[in-house]
Amino acid sequence: MFKYLAILCLIAAPALAQIGHEIEQIEVRGNEKTRAEIIRQVLPIKIGDPLREGDLDRCRVVLERLLLFRTVFVNVKPGTQKGKAILVVYVREKRFGTLGGSLEYSELDGFGLAADAYYANLRGEGKLIGAAYGWRERLKYWGFRYGDPLFLKTNQAFHIQVRGSSADRDIFRHSNPDIRGRYDLERIGFALGIGQPSPLRAYHFVLKYAFEAIQIGAFQRPAIATGDEVFANEIAEAEGREKLSTLALHLFKQSTGGPWGHGTDFNARLTLSSKVLGSVANYAKFRTELYRHQHLFAGHILSLGIKAGGIWGHPPFYERFYLDGDNQLRGIERRVIGPEGGTLFFVAEALYAVAIKPLGRIYAFAESGGVCRFVNDNSRRDAGTAIGVGLLLFNRIDISFGINTGTLIVKSHRFGGIKFGL
């Protein structure tokens, strides 16, 4: 696969004339409240660095993620000497922040509403406070957030979140809800994170500590015995309240071209939980995903991706990997594969999409996913493959149909809403 990716990389967009020029100055324009040095510090490129392909987009994305600006524009002009260049950043600030509301849908949680509000740029230092609330058929969540892009005047971004959620979960898949069994999973806690761009510019490191009180309740045993009832017994034993305390290292890179845009998405997260930290269990969890979206020619995109993960130790059942939510497959119903979750999982997919303007994209896909779990020294493995076609409407609603499975899956995120920039 990597060989193929390498060949695809050679078909990259032509380099711009400015590439390779050394940045001699960073000019910030349009800022009224935000201090220019704040903007300079958060940029992934510094004075003296050579300009590389994609740097302008990376700078734009970094500034847009601060949620401080209505408009961000990054450009480059010739410097005072040959081979040098000046990076020009133009921003138009939000006066207050953002209020938003939208409709949402997911296979796991059903339809719902979401609302969020942010106050941006406290004291002109880029600090942000915000709140979010969501109500879905099977999930309710709320959260408060404080973020500082330059913690203690260093190049470290800091954030703190207080959040809670209440989810209604099935134990097995079955059309009759009285048969499949269920439980409630409630989480309330906080997270502290500190992060910085890596020397590779496009990548970001985040070190995060999280503490959560987990409540498992309203357990209903499945009406039919499945898998020797190991999973149902496990949930029954976990009923009650327990604490989860984790330390996580997160490394990620996102393409700058938006959803289904050209580029590479990379994400890796290592989470450690220890009783020393006050947690209910000792375990180490690693999850990674790598996607490459390649424009082959106008309107045609080939996407190749893989997700994989493993857990070592004794994780609580809700921390295992399930093929739903973020791991939802395109042509296979959620949790049909490995409903008990796995300590090892993988998902691999290839997708060929053709743009149909202005509707979105049609695509063909092939995917495979599986989970593995060890119970009493025996491994329980489950895997499946789907081949099918799909339609991506307005880059928001992803409808796919597995031809060999006869399953229709709708994957979508926020598909309608309104946002007030204040």
Binding site: R29, G30, P78, R92, K357, P358, F394, R396, G416, I418
Partner: protein
Amino acid sequence: MARFIHIPMLVACMFAPFRPVFAQHISKDSLYIYVQSDTLRVDATIASLFSKRAIDAIESGMTTSIVVQFRLRTGRGDQVGQRGLTTRLEHDIWEGEYRLIRQAAQADTLITPRFEDIRRGCSRLQGLDLAGLPLPNVPLTLQMRIDVNPISPEQQERTRRWLKILEKGSYLEFFYSLDSPPSSEWVDVIKFRPSALPHLLEK
């Protein structure tokens, strides 16, 4: 022989308190309203067309849309004529070149390395037709509205996409952002009576 009448005028651009303070106005000496070929026309020079924010955006290389609109209203508020001029300004900061494209029936383009040429090109309005004759012989008020909006490539793309989607009448993509600044307000430029205007003969 052509004969002009010099009409003193004053424009006070009053924007809402939360808006940036612009000083766009038409100087006293530069406004001429006249009749030519059964058409009411205006010559004018706009002073301080570009705010500091607009200049910042232009000097960063953002494409900027400049819309100048005039309208004529009677004392009762009836509108008897409206005309506008839309211009797009592009700036290639790597090449150091400005490109001013006037979007009209007869489009024309000015390419120059000097911003002063651009400022002059945008500010000077010559023979802009306001309304066809006859006009009611009552006092009319000439009003002006100017919008100078920097547009990033992402905004341009979003706007294009929006226009397409609105044409198709889709509500699924109803992801509306109210981030865009409101249009500027109409301000009074001058009051006059059409019968008192000079007639400019065609050559």
